[in-house]
Amino acid sequence: MLFPTLVFGVFFLFVYFTAWSLDRENGRRKLFLLLASWFFYAQWDWRFVALLIASAVLNWGVGALIARQPGAKKAWLVGLGVAANLLILGFFKYYGFFIEQAGDLLMRFGWERDLPLLQIVLPVGISFFTFQGISYVVDVHRGKTPPAKNLLDVMLLMSFFPHLVAGPIVRASDLLPQFDRAPRLTREMATYGLLLIVWGLFKKTVIASELSVSLVDPVFFDPSAYSGFDIAAATYGYAVQIYCDFSAYSDMAIGLAALLGYSFPRNFDQPYRASSLQSFWRRWHISLSSWLRDYLYVPLGGGRKGLASSCVNVFITMLLGGLWHGAAWTFLAWGALHGGVQVIERLGRAAFGDRKVVPTVIGVLVTFHVVCLGWILFRAENFDLAMAMLQGLGRVGPVTALTPLLLTLIVGGLAMHWLPPRAIEGVAERLKAAPSVTLGLLIGAAILLVEAVRPEGVAPFIYFQF
């Protein structure tokens, strides 16, 4: 059940009105939202609802034990909790990859073995809910958040349908306090939520879908059939597509949660405006980059032990961040590229201090093209295709794939990064005073426009596979 579908619209209308009819009974309301979230998740594969429940029970149990145990045992328990979460993630996501690599390695040394290959279906959103589980256990251990008062809260924290399958990664310290009290819906929240949903629908179903179907997919499928101009357009197109796809999901998730009375953190902040890769990661998938910082980079030592250590740590963090996206060497290479460039940036800062060596415009352009280079690795099925894309950039030939409409979408997708920051909040602030009929008609007309131009059907969000 994808967000931009009629079925989800009907589902959400039912959830919205039922949830608010239970607003005096916070416990029942949460129970209803949990059941609705499980129903939502079961639309992909009902068997994995059991995995979701097991994961929540595990994290709730470990959190409760950590809160009751004295000092030394806590460390063991938190280690156990994190290991159990990583085991679940590793089994479903990386088992096949590592077995395959181990088989290749053994064959290379002449020790060929029949390793137990399994056809494992990847549960949708497993990377997101296991990361949430890890953050809950670690935060309880660090004392950043008290243990949840009951199992229901942890289950809802991990299963809440707006963020369940593709984030943002909402931490316990953000959401558990909101579960404690009956939520309120203000005009600001409702207007903001509705606008985010419409904006997300537009980005996903119009920009991302059109670019994907008409430009990116054909060119990445067979780069040798296209000229360098088309390949460059497809690369820029993918940069816009992945931004519009993923940020659309985050926007809609934040908007849906707002309509139900809950506040999620911002996940994107005009990332292609960044003038360095460090700045890019403060603007792109903020909930993941801050997670990696707090639960990986800082425990590794962060920047406390000097420049060399900080460079090694940031490289390892980005490498594992790449692996988080998928079990493939291309993702590792993508992570290594981002880690390597960040190391260079750190060395540059160490050498030149905070002096502005490169003008901001140049910084933005260079950063954007490094990111685009990374997107080629990220999108290509394998290294051969990635290399074919890079080699094809120099090929001279007619422009066949790029059309005026696609060029407009690419330029528009990049131009939206130069809208005033918090533009949606600004519009919501103005519209919140409008009568409900006026706003309802405006929202309806905006959705009608999107519906009129969207292609039939809708492709799954890119980040569902992670």
């Binding site: 608010w20 309120r184 819906l185 066949t400 409900s436 309802g440 008609l441 929202i443 959705i447 009608l448």
Partner: protein, 165 residues
């Protein structure tokens, strides 16, 4: 009205009790101000708002018959905002049900045949047909045609788009 505080030199009484300098030049015909009331006649405790006024009887009757609600507390304000949001969503849904009526029909055509799919397809087919009489499908159709025309556009010298399968 502004939120600025009164300057400290102006007394807080509703009517100033001192004569301010006139900002206008004196009149040419040389009007002379008559002797004012003696200072001792002024009563500082009297406020013009205290004077008895007669209330409109119709308003008084209305207030008696329909007493105004007490001001809303937090709970009441929250309920009012919720109702407002709910109405907004319902208006949007109704708008789309009329102007985007073809959406359920398209959806039902993409589903595997079943009793539910068949029922939705028939009902939405009738709904779309009835609304088309009033031309409410034209805005969506117009936007779609403009979009398709934009998709077909090519740069000068570029080959035209292949025919849709």
């Amino acid at each position: 009205m502004t939120d600025d505080r009164d300057p400290p030199e102006i007394p807080l009484e509703p009517f100033p009790v001192y004569r301010q300098e006139s900002p206008f030049p004196p009149l040419d015909d040389g009007l002379t101000a008559g002797p004012g009331d003696p200072w001792s006649d002024r009563n500082q405790n009297v406020d013009a708002h205290d004077l008895p006024t007669r209330e409109n009887r119709l308003l008084a009757l209305g207030r008696f018959a329909f007493p105004p609600d007490p001001p809303l507390d937090d709970e009441g304000l929250a309920a009012r905002d919720r109702r407002w949001a709910g109405r907004t969503i319902l208006v949007s849904a109704a708008f789309l049900l009329v102007f985007n009526a073809v959406s359920p029909l398209n959806w039902s055509r993409q589903q595997a045949p079943s009793w539910l799919q068949g029922t939705i397809q028939q009902i939405s087919g009738v709904w779309v047909g009835q609304l088309a009489v009033f031309g409410v499908d034209m805005p969506r159709q117009g936007v779609r045609e403009a979009w398709m025309a934009a998709r077909e556009m090519r740069f000068a010298g570029q080959e035209p788009a292949p025919p849709a399968p």
